[in-house]
Symmetry: C2
Subunit: 116 residues, 2 copies
C-alpha cells in the first residue's frame, strides 16, 4: 500500500473516510446536521469508542438519557455502550467529526511511538 492517500471533502451531509483513504485503524466521518434536525436514531457500539469534535454550531448530545450541551470547540468521548443521539440547535447547523476506533486498541503514542 502506498505510504499516503489524500482526498478533499466538501460541505456534504456525511463524508466517510475509511474506504476512500484506505484507513486501517479508524473510521472517520465529517457530518453536517441541518438546524432543527437530529440523527434519526439512538445507537451504541459493540467494540468501538467514538470521539466527536464539534467544528461549528451547537446542539445536544443525548447520552444514556442525559442532555450534554455541545458547541464549536467541544470534544466528547463516548464508550462503546453509551446510547447516543445527536441534535442540532433550532438556529444553526451542527458540523462535527466523528472518529470511530476499537476501544483499548492504542498502545504507544506520540513520544512512545514516534521516530524522530
Amino acid at each position: 500500500m502506498k505510504n499516503f492517500s489524500k482526498i478533499g471533502i466538501k460541505e456534504d451531509a456525511r463524508t466517510e473516510l475509511h474506504d476512500s483513504l484506505k484507513l486501517t485503524g479508524a473510521e472517520i466521518s465529517v457530518n453536517v446536521l441541518p438546524a432543527g434536525t437530529s440523527v434519526p436514531f439512538v445507537h451504541s457500539h459493540r467494540q468501538n469508542e467514538e470521539i466527536y469534535i464539534i467544528l461549528r454550531g451547537e446542539g445536544t448530545a443525548v447520552t444514556d438519557g442525559e442532555n450534554i450541551g455541545i458547541k464549536e470547540g467541544d470534544c466528547l468521548r463516548l464508550s462503546p455502550s453509551a446510547k447516543r443521539r445527536f441534535f442540532a440547535s433550532a438556529k444553526n447547523s451542527l458540523k462535527y467529526i466523528c472518529v470511530q476506533v476499537k476501544a483499548d486498541s492504542l498502545e504507544g503514542y506520540t513520544t512512545s511511538d514516534a521516530i524522530i
Copy 2:
C-alpha cells in the same frame, strides 16, 4: 469509567485529547501552525497510522520527500513508516486535526459495529 467525557478547546498551538478525555483507542491533537512556520522535525511512527484533517489555511505535507499540497477540507492518511513534516503557507496559519491510531486495529465499524 464513566460512559462519556467532554472538554472544550481553544485556539492553542496544540491541544492533545488522549489524557483529558481518557481515550483508549486513539490520540487526537488539534493544532495551529502559524503562517510561515513548520513542525520543526521530520517524524515517522512505529505502529501508528495518522490521519490529518485540514480545518483552515493551506500548506505542504512533505512525505517521503514528496511535496503534497494541503488546504481546508483535505484529509490525508499516512502509513506508520512515512517520513512526514508539515509546513503552513507563508500567508495563512494552518489548523488541522491529527488522529493517531494503531495500524490494522479496526475490526467492525459503522453498520457492522453499531447497535441500533
